[in-house]
């Protein structure tokens, strides 16, 4: 434990319930703290309080050791951190103290230094340099002891700092319009696919114009659904005018059946809006984002809304239990799950009103399109017509709808 015979970083399995945390950690850490190295006991967040109490109880009185705890996160001011932390680390080392630390603290401190260093405005202020110097001091002097190492080193864990000025998503607003299009397409095909795979899909439809809750239960059904959607989308606007050959190549490319021939046919479109559209579809359909959101993620269990924080969908820890700070990192996953959250849960009352207020205010050609879309999908045409005629839309639109209705 103290001097692994390989001389490399080492993990051990010790049987549970025989005193790993309460005996081994205090003994090992107090022996290692010899004034030359900074001993850090790395412990998971839920266990940190307990570990601190154990060390204080076992070591501070009997062995006269000081136990340090220096929580760190992005909220700590960089200037303060750069001035105060290194002297504290150093005194902990010299006094043969023991530092209790959570994985988040170590990683956050490391990222803060890098974040500051790549920012232009900080290049000359010295804050970044001091932070990086503290980091390299830690690199040279810290001796880490991990408790519950397999959870600390779990592959699932990462800490992300976003950096730079926030900008709109690439290809907005097409980005989310396409995702919505794909979801509606999936809804349309889902019923047919359920006939082929009766156990492969679960569809819960409540009312006609409400988006049904779709769950993919069988991987084969998911692949089939993605392929159907891909074929359907390629028959629509944007692709309809492509030559037959290019359309076939695009279909293969979107469903990830790659070949050099396809690549050369599609090569001429590179850099165009069409190419970006194809790439997006490939991500959603071929690479499985659609299947991922409908198969692996359950509404209200794995994701849902947290209006206090953001309007987008956020990960849930368990059913109806929010995570405190996590977000979906992948933009298309975030968009798709946000769409589904609102489809399944509906809009709150005030947001419905807000929509109508916006609709009435919009003064551009797209108004017609929006109103058309809303009416086209609406539950009972008569009532809607009744509402709409009183809402005061321009007469031309009203006329169109009466006309459309007479055709039906």
């Amino acid at each position: 434990m103290m001097f692994p015979h390989t001389g490399e970083n080492t993990l051990l399995q010790l049987n549970m319930g025989e005193g790993k945390s309460s005996v081994v950690i205090p003994v090992v850490s107090s022996a290692l703290a010899d004034g030359k190295q900074l001993v850090r006991v790395v412990v998971l967040k839920p266990l940190a309080k307990q570990m601190f109490a154990i060390l204080v109880h076992k070591l501070s009185g009997l062995a006269n050791r000081r136990i340090f705890y220096l929580p760190f996160s992005r909220d700590v001011k960089a200037l303060t951190a750069s001035q105060h932390l290194l002297p504290l680390f150093d005194s902990c080392r010299r006094e043969r103290g023991i530092l209790v630390v959570q994985p988040e603290h170590i990683l956050s401190f490391k990222l803060m230094g890098i974040d500051r260093a790549i920012r232009l405005e900080d290049k000359f202020s010295g804050v970044a340099n001091t932070l990086l110097a503290s980091q390299s001091w830690l690199f040279k002097n810290s001796r880490d002891v991990l408790d519950e190492s397999d959870e600390i080193l779990s592959v699932k864990y990462q800490l992300v700092y976003t950096s730079g000025v926030q900008e709109p998503l690439q290809d907005h607003p097409e980005r989310w319009i396409r995702v919505q299009e794909i979801l509606h397409c999936a809804r349309k095909h889902a019923y047919r696919i359920r006939e082929t795979y009766p156990d492969g899909l679960k569809i819960e439809q409540t009312e006609r114009e409400v988006f049904p809750v779709i769950r993919i239960l069988d991987a084969a059904a998911g692949v089939y659904l993605s392929n159907c959607v891909a074929e359907d989308v390629l028959m629509r606007e944007g692709f309809r005018l492509l030559p037959q050959r290019a359309r076939k190549a695009a279909l293969k490319f979107i469903t990830c059946e790659d070949s050099e021939k396809n690549a050369s046919i599609l090569g001429q479109y590179k850099g165009t809006g069409l190419w970006r559209h194809i790439l997006l579809l490939r991500g959603l359909l071929g690479c499985g984002i659609l299947r991922f959101v409908l198969e692996k993620k359950r509404w209200c269990v794995d994701y849902g809304l947290d209006p206090s924080r953001t309007l987008l969908a956020v990960p849930y820890r368990a059913k109806d239990v929010l995570t405190l700070r996590a977000d979906f990192g992948h933009p298309d996953v975030a968009i798709a799950l946000s769409c589904l959250s609102y489809y399944y849960g509906g809009l709150p009352d005030d947001k419905v009103i807000l929509c109508f207020q916006l609709l009435l205010k919009i003064d551009n050609p797209s108004l017609e399109y929006e109103v058309k879309a809303i009416l086209y999908y609406s539950p009972s045409f008569d009532i809607i017509m009744h509402c709409i005629s009183r809402l005061g839309f321009p007469p031309a639109i009203e006329y169109r709808f009466s006309f459309k209705r007479s055709l039906e």
């Binding site: 266990l47 307990q50 397999d150 990462q158 950096s163 989310w176 368990a318 809009l347 509402c387």
Partner: protein, 256 residues
């Protein structure tokens, strides 16, 4: 029709349109995404590789389970003592003991039991159950303090207090008069045999509590529960010979 009119709103607009997907698409495209769907030019990420990097001094660690030994960063190795080789089998043999072989399904007529019904079931068991380890995160509709008070209200006078973790990761105890105080400061800290213990899924790992030998625990299972988490949850009491009452949910796990 007037959208400012409360009655008309409640009767026509909201019920007709609140779940209508065209309206929702409009809302998303005009309100939600333009404001929230943003990206940053750079993302800095750190992970376990940074915790296990090779540095001036070696890093050592230990754990009771080694199930992810093949997924560790390559800068750190699992090097188990020869004498500890039987650990995994030993733990499994605890699990397989006849007294641990009690299973019970949480579903009634295809629906999951609520936390309250589950606690009622648990309190009715004999011999009585003293510890509830919610490894499978099944107590979804209640927070820990609520579970503690419900448990107290359901159980007989013999259980005088419930120990659980509050939201600050602090071990606290709730007594029959409803007061909550830190466990160390409580008169019950040396009288755990009079208490019930509830550990939520975040706190079942690596917890050390000195429990009486004859304590019986219930462990919940859930979807995506891996063996190491289950075993970690059980480690609290395996040195004490106890009975384990596992309520499980495999039906549900398969369906999902």
């Amino acid at each position: 029709m007037n959208i400012e009119d409360q009655d008309q709103r409640q009767i026509y607009l909201i019920p007709l349109f609140s779940k209508n997907y065209a309206v929702i698409d409009f809302y998303l495209s005009n309100v939600v995404f333009p404001k929230e769907a943003k990206q940053f030019p750079m993302r800095l990420a750190a992970s376990s590789w940074d915790l296990a990097e090779k540095k001036g001094f070696v890093t050592t660690g230990f754990s009771g389970t080694n199930d992810n030994r093949y997924l560790l960063p390559t800068t750190i190795d699992q090097n188990d003592f020869l004498g500890q080789g039987g650990t995994n089998a030993k733990v499994l043999s605890y699990l397989m003991r006849p007294e641990n072989n009690h299973y019970f399904c949480l579903e009634v007529a295809g629906r999951l039991l609520s936390s309250r019904n589950f606690l009622e079931c648990m309190v009715a068991q004999f011999p009585p159950i003293h510890v509830l380890l919610d490894v499978g995160a099944q107590m979804l509709d209640m927070q820990s303090p609520e579970i503690a008070s419900t448990w107290l209200s359901l159980s007989s006078e013999r259980v005088e207090a419930i120990v659980f973790f509050d939201q600050h990761d602090q071990l606290v105890i709730m007594s029959r008069d409803g007061t909550t105080e830190p466990l160390e400061a409580s008169q019950f800290s040396q009288k755990l045999d009079l208490c019930g213990i509830y550990l939520d899924d975040a706190h079942t790992r690596g917890m050390d509590l000195n429990l009486p030998k004859d304590f019986r625990a219930a462990v919940t299972l859930g979807p995506h529960l891996t063996k190491d988490r289950l075993v970690q949850g059980k480690n609290i009491h395996e040195s004490q010979c106890d009975l384990t009452h596992v309520s499980y949910q495999v039906v549900c796990a398969c369906e999902n």
